[in-house]
């Protein structure tokens, strides 16, 4: 465990005690939080707020996995992201869903880190819309784009469904995402296709990236497709396994150190 994670865990424990005493309605949430100090203050706040604000036990009783809570997202945003990734890659008979594999945590960390802050993005003006062939031209970092897009979608859903996005049924959430994808919904702040594209890109990344980034818990997405992961040394296997299945328990980078 890194120093950073450790200190978060410590803060989490302190705040947990405070919260546990203060918020009577948080009992259900608190009882399902991970033990051992891995929940941060934000995470507990998120779980508590989600429970009280939206009166939904389901979200609060689902523990966060594979991470130490939300560094970037506020409670409304994390509720949106969890619901969105759960809709984009749901748990089904094919395999695990993005939410249960920690993809919301992955996206949160990406938004809080260098990528989300545009550390490899040219952001000098002037800004013009350009042609599709000229690519991304917004004066926004990925984290600014995601934040603004979530607010846009939540406002749309509030207006049209009298609910937050995460409060919708699975079917209705899928319908909203479809309308975003096809640009039937026009978001006021961010270009709909750009926002949806980034959301989907991040979801697929988190699902298939090495588990150390917070998603792909227990290498479950790799198991699902048969990708052996970071433990990759095939010079003596490529010929004998021609047209024959190669079965290996996938390994992440941290499993090999």
């Amino acid at each position: 465990m890194s120093t950073r994670e450790k200190s978060q865990g410590d803060v989490g424990r302190r705040d947990f005690l405070k919260l546990f005493g203060a918020a009577g309605a948080a009992g259900a949430a608190a009882s399902t939080l991970p033990l051992g100090g891995s929940a941060s203050a934000d995470e507990i706040m998120a779980a508590t707020a989600a429970n009280t604000k939206h009166h939904r036990v389901a979200a609060a009783t689902t523990p966060h996995v594979g991470g130490s809570g939300y560094e970037f997202f506020n409670v409304d945003e994390s509720a949106f992201i969890e619901a969105a990734v759960d809709t984009l890659l749901p748990s089904d008979s094919t395999g695990p869903g993005a939410k249960e594999l920690g993809v919301a945590t992955y996206i949160d960390r990406q938004m809080a880190g260098g990528y989300g802050k545009g550390d490899r993005l040219y952001l000098e003006g002037p800004f013009g819309e350009g042609t599709p062939e000229q690519g991304y031209q917004l004066p926004m970092t990925p984290s600014e784009l995601i934040r603004a897009g979530i607010a846009d979608v939540n406002a749309f859903v509030q207006k049209n469904h009298k609910s937050t996005f995460d409060g919708l049924s699975a079917k209705d959430r899928a319908a909203v995402l479809s309308d975003l994808e096809s640009e039937k919904i026009e978001l006021p702040t961010v270009p709909t296709a750009t926002f949806f594209g980034l959301l989907l890109q991040l979801t697929i990344e988190g699902y298939f990236a090495d588990p150390m980034y917070g998603g792909n818990k227990d290498r479950a997405a790799w198991k699902m497709i048969g990708f052996p992961g970071a433990d990759a040394m095939y010079m003596d296997k490529i010929e004998p396994f021609r047209n024959r299945p190669y079965k290996a328990e996938p390994k992440g980078i941290q499993d090999l150190i």
């Binding site: 890659l89 094919t94 042609t131 062939e133 000229q134 690519g135 899928a174 298939f208 433990d231």
Partner: protein
């Protein structure tokens, strides 16, 4: 105010393959050499070790080893009537940064270009007449032939430990190698790599159709190897984390463990990393370079005088430096005059994705960057230009470079992009799909060029370079014609479903296509249509030499690093044996 440093004999800008080769080859001269590299130092250990290097997100999706466009980028437009806008994030191509340059993260495919590629105009006119060349196409010969370069191709292959099978030794055609290649003096230094299942299927299908497939020439060593310089290579692990990654095994040839350490053994050589060169300074005659201006990691400005300056940055970086330095006349498409930025070219891909039934197991993740089978039956002038309707063609191949799942999860056309149906399609096809792809040549045109942007600047305050580029009719016909051939082969491989695809037209800077940017500072026999003479020496400023893919008059249907490396050996030979003995123009202009 720049701090002026003590003069050196030779200054090298950019330390990748070509800068590394030149630095190493000049060690015997005892001259004082300084190399300035804009990125940081890198070494196999600790930078590329296993398992940490097997990280798709960091290296392939987040471009950890690439140029950071926050500091320097280009602007782009398809045509002159548009306003160019910045390439705000990487996409279509991925220039490297740091010691070793793009030579660290390349695939390792190491071609000799076809004889036609070296004499494209003469051979086309001889066979088809002038009329077949579109009026806006700048089809130009190299100033040297394949035969001139053959010994240097050989030298580079041996430096890299290239694994392959010759198809033409001293004019004798050899089945199983590339029978279309120019005559070689010697076999490859290592035998071909082990073919993956998809390649076995491709080879059989291509042969059934009467074509001539052969294993890619690969600088991913097929066995342990010691090159003529005494550098040890490990056998390739087929780990599938190759292009976009550094190699943990020192199996993928890279300058960072071959030529550069040898250059560093020279006590007269000094490497300064994190040093970004802003421009080359000329004297009042504008015929002689006197120094370069550069910034160190702390932003301090230095002037480094030197007698001889080698521009060996990435292709686009070299043209950028020439434009910022006022070396050579910038190209003006309106008048057709000027040469710097002229003949920028690229490549066009596309092809077929072949989906197989579940009994066909490919183990795609057992791969290597250069692991593939190719055929040149529709490349160079190995086919009929008139019948096909296009010039240039491309190599058609089935590659098995890995199956990293963020970026490689093939699904048939029509599959939703998300949801349960997408998940099922990903699982059903992940290890049962192969691609048959075209690496198409792109010719040079009057309207495709590089220049300086009037609006946008880099973090150092310099104008960004502006790319004006689009695919022209010849290339659109080519990508379509070649894709049809790919579809035919995919069907012959036994695919249950075949999806055909071509790159976006107009050309888009967004999706990854190829890091084979060429031209902008081409070499040639005529100073009116080239920046450099046949020794890669600037016509107008003879104490500046320029290396890299920017020297190619047009692109080929092949990866560029083979001729890029060979030409670095060719140029440094001329520098050592001709220029240093009598500094001045090596070819009268």
């Amino acid at each position: 105010m720049a701090t002026k440093l003590n003069a050196v004999d030779v200054l090298i800008v950019g330390l990748g393959w070509t800068g590394g080769i030149i630095a190493k080859e000049l060690a015997s001269t005892k001259l004082k050499i300084v190399a300035l590299e804009r990125g940081g130092p890198r070494d196999t250990n600790p930078d590329f070790i296993d398992p940490q290097i097997h990280d798709e997100l960091r290296y392939a999706a987040r471009y950890d080893l690439m140029q950071n466009v926050r500091r320097e980028t280009i602007t782009f437009r398809n045509r002159e009537s548009q306003t160019a806008l910045p390439m705000r994030q990487l996409g279509s191509f991925l220039p490297g940064q740091g010691v070793g340059g793009a030579g660290v993260h390349w695939n390792g495919v190491t071609w000799r270009w076809l004889e036609w590629d070296h004499q494209a105009r003469t051979r086309t006119v001889d066979k088809y007449g002038e009329k077949i060349i579109p009026s806006d196409m700048h089809l130009q010969d190299w100033p040297i032939t394949y035969d001139d370069l053959e010994p240097y191709y050989d030298k580079f292959e041996k430096t890299c430990g290239t694994s392959g099978k010759a198809g033409n030794i001293n004019g004798r055609k050899i089945d199983g190698g590339n029978i279309f290649e120019g005559s070689r003096k010697d076999e490859y230094p290592n035998p071909p790599m082990i073919a993956a299942q998809s390649m076995v299927m491709f080879e059989k299908a291509a042969r059934n159709l009467g074509y001539h497939p052969f294993p890619n020439p690969s600088s991913n060593a097929s066995r342990d190897y010691v090159n003529p310089d005494g550098v040890a290579f490990g056998q390739c692990h087929y780990c599938g984390f190759c292009e976009r990654f550094g190699c943990e095994a020192n199996a993928k040839a890279s300058p960072h463990f071959t030529v550069i350490p040898l250059a560093l053994e020279n006590p007269h050589f000094e490497l300064r990393t994190n040093s970004i060169v802003l421009k080359v300074n000329l004297d009042s005659t504008r015929k002689k370079a006197v120094s370069v201006t550069y910034l160190d990691a702390r932003g301090r400005e230095f002037e480094q005088p030197a007698d001889l300056i080698i521009l060996s940055a990435y292709a686009l970086g070299n043209v950028n430096l020439l434009l910022h330095s006022g070396i050579g006349v910038p190209y003006d498409p309106a008048t057709g005059r000027g040469v710097v930025g002229r003949n920028y070219a690229y490549q066009c891909g596309g092809g077929a994705t072949a989906f197989f039934d579940k009994e066909t197991i490919l183990n795609r993740f057992m791969g290597a960057g250069a692991l593939g089978t190719t055929m040149d039956d529709f490349n160079g002038d190995n086919y009929d230009f008139v019948k096909a309707g296009y010039i240039g063609g491309g190599g058609i191949s089935c590659s098995n470079s890995g199956a990293r799942p963020i970026q490689s999860h093939p699904t048939p056309h029509g599959t939703p992009r998300w949801g349960s149906e997408w998940k099922k399609a990903v699982v059903d096809n992940y290890d049962h799909a192969a691609s048959v792809g075209n690496q198409g040549a792109v010719m040079a045109y009057r309207q495709n060029y590089l220049s300086l942007d009037p609006t946008y600047t880099d973090v150092f305050g310099r104008p960004l370079m502006r790319m004006t580029f689009d695919f022209q009719d010849n290339e659109v016909k080519q990508m379509n014609g070649q894709a049809d051939i790919c579809v035919k082969i995919a069907k012959e491989m036994g695919a249950t479903k075949v999806d055909r695809s071509i790159p976006p037209v107009p050309y888009s800077i967004v999706p990854y296509q190829s890091t084979h940017n060429t031209g902008g500072a081409v070499f040639g026999a005529d100073p009116n249509t080239s920046v450099l003479n046949k020794y890669l020496q600037v016509w107008d400023v003879p104490n500046v030499f320029v290396t890299g893919a920017c020297v190619f008059p047009q692109n080929a249907g092949k990866n560029p690093t083979g001729p890029v490396g060979a030409l670095a050996y060719w140029a440094v030979d001329a520098i050592k044996n001709q220029y240093l003995k009598n500094p001045g123009p090596l070819v009268p202009s």
